[in-house]
């Protein structure tokens, strides 16, 4: 795991916030590429009966997931797509180059609109961390889903995640303490009329310094049935919703199943899979 090692010890005046790297903090706070890769491979196998080889990561950012995918098996290839060349460069430097020639040779990064990329066709496309929420119009999201559909092999699967729950539609902050920093998720605005959803990520440090609004999101909070409707309309044949099993204390176990009915919770996130 990359630590904030942009070291510069001699200058005493630099705050922890100034020394930190927001991409590294983001990865530690919100990503779990190993878990995602395992879930994707297991889910794909369950639906298709064989292993997926090629994976495309839309809104890939630092491409941590692409890198993990290529590392997880010697035949696996990954294609990352994002609009920010800077962020992908960060990923090249911190993940892909350090992973070695063999892994690096199986990862391709493309700086483009996710709706524009339709080749090469892949077994599995994923869009995580709710990034597709940036498409606020139904027609836009439909166009994106249709382009994902067009870019999948015949037995391809599209995996995405979503956020929900009674508190997802409220304003407020959630803090997670990671020891050397606090990750703060701020839901600054939710509008029931349009479902416009404005969120920020802040990082707070023990010396009192912070990276305020390290990441900003101007989203529409899409509801699960809307996503199902859109995916089917975009041409997918079947949509699966997963739900995380909880233990006796109500904590997530990392194990997902496909429920018929679940009771709503205050806040939840989960995966969806759509079969081409």
């Amino acid at each position: 795991m990359p630590r904030s090692s942009a070291v510069s010890k001699p200058k005493p005046a630099r705050t922890l916030a100034q020394q930190a790297d927001r991409h590294a903090l983001y990865e530690r706070a919100v990503q779990d590429p190993e878990g995602d890769v395992k879930f994707f491979a297991r889910t794909y196998r369950k639906i298709r009966g064989h292993d997926p080889i090629s994976m495309r990561e839309d809104f890939c950012g630092t491409a941590a997931l692409c890198c993990e995918w290529a590392r997880s098996a010697p035949e696996r290839t990954a294609l990352g797509v994002d609009l920010s060349q800077d962020t992908m460069n960060w990923g090249l430097e911190h993940h892909i180059v350090p992973a070695g020639r063999d892994v690096a040779s199986r990862v391709t990064l493309v700086c483009d609109d996710v709706r524009a990329v339709k080749r090469p066709k892949v077994d599995l496309t994923c869009a995580l961390n709710f990034s597709y929420y940036c498409f606020k119009q139904r027609a836009e999201l439909l166009e994106y889903f249709a382009s994902v559909h067009a870019g999948l092999n015949r037995d391809g699967v599209f995996l995405l995640d979503m956020l929900g729950g009674t508190e997802a539609i409220l304003e407020g902050n959630t803090d997670n303490d990671h020891g050397d920093f606090i990750y703060r998720w701020e839901q600054a605005k939710f509008d029931a009329f349009s479902h416009d959803f404005q969120c920020f990520i802040h990082f707070l440090f023990p010396d009192g310094s912070k990276i305020y609004r390290a990441f900003s999101y101007d989203w529409r909070l899409w509801m699960a049935p809307e996503l199902r409707d859109l995916l089917l309309e975009a041409g997918f044949s079947k949509v699966h919703f997963y739900w995380e099993k909880t233990d006796a204390k109500g904590e997530g176990t990392g194990v997902f199943y496909e429920p018929d009915y679940v009771e709503n919770q205050e806040i939840w996130w989960t995966y969806l899979a759509a079969e081409r």
């Binding site: 009674t166 509008d191 029931a192 009329f193 479902h195 529409r220 699960a224 009771e263 709503n264």
Partner: protein, 305 residues
Amino acid sequence: MSKKPAKPTPATKTSKKPAAKKKPVAKKKPAAKKATRPTLAERADKHALYQVSVQSPGVDIEFFEEQFAKYRGRKPLRMREDFCGTALLSTEWCKTDPQRTAHGVDLDAATLAWGREHNLEPAGPDVARRVKLAQADVRETRFAKVDLTLAMNFSYCVFHTREQLGEYFAAACKGLVRDGVLALEVYGGTESMSVLEEERPVRGATYIWEQEKFCPIDHRTLCHISWRFKDRSQIKRAFTYDWRLWTLPELHELLLAAGFKAVKFYFERVDGDPDDEFLTGTGDFVEHTEIDNQEAWLAYVIALK
């Protein structure tokens, strides 16, 4: 599409510890002198209870008349009430003006019959003659065109797919005159997506709104209306609704796709008075293009053809 839903009362933490306010049932007359005496629940009529518990036709009519005049510069005369149930709103509509006519549409013959006997006939022949009732699907398009179509109490939530709801909206649009208006009611907010039970007193009983299920994956919600009486008898789950809880952006998109030119939303101002045990709505609706979410809200949707 039998009887309609309940207005979840604009919400309230307090309303959940409701029975609290009720005095311990004044009781125990010399033991039940007639064991055979019917309970209050047995003597009650669920349609009559429904009307007093969740309907307020006067408020609805006043509001829609005002909005219609604002957008169309005239008075609406011909009204269609979809999912009309007992046609209380249709009856009241015709009482407000001798030129007015109403057309109630519902699938449930028994409920329509109840309405004829208890609402239309008592209103007198002049009113009754101007109310037409049809046992039909609201997506039927062969009816005479009207100025205003009302679908109150969330009944359109019986349509679970975009296709079905889109078809209903398209039929509603087609059934309107050139400057016609469709009005719907919506509820939402965090509590609408939860399992809960709320109570409030109504004339002679306690009205109970129960959200037995809400599934966040498909937004299907299973709700019931029950009443409890002073003698502790109950009409349990007198009405049951298997709905999809549609959200405002979905309604907006579907209405535009169905052919309406503009869609307006009116949220009921909820009084924040902490002493108001039921945090009841003020009956004051204001147009919004952006709202903060609340625990529970009610809104009127007005779609202009």
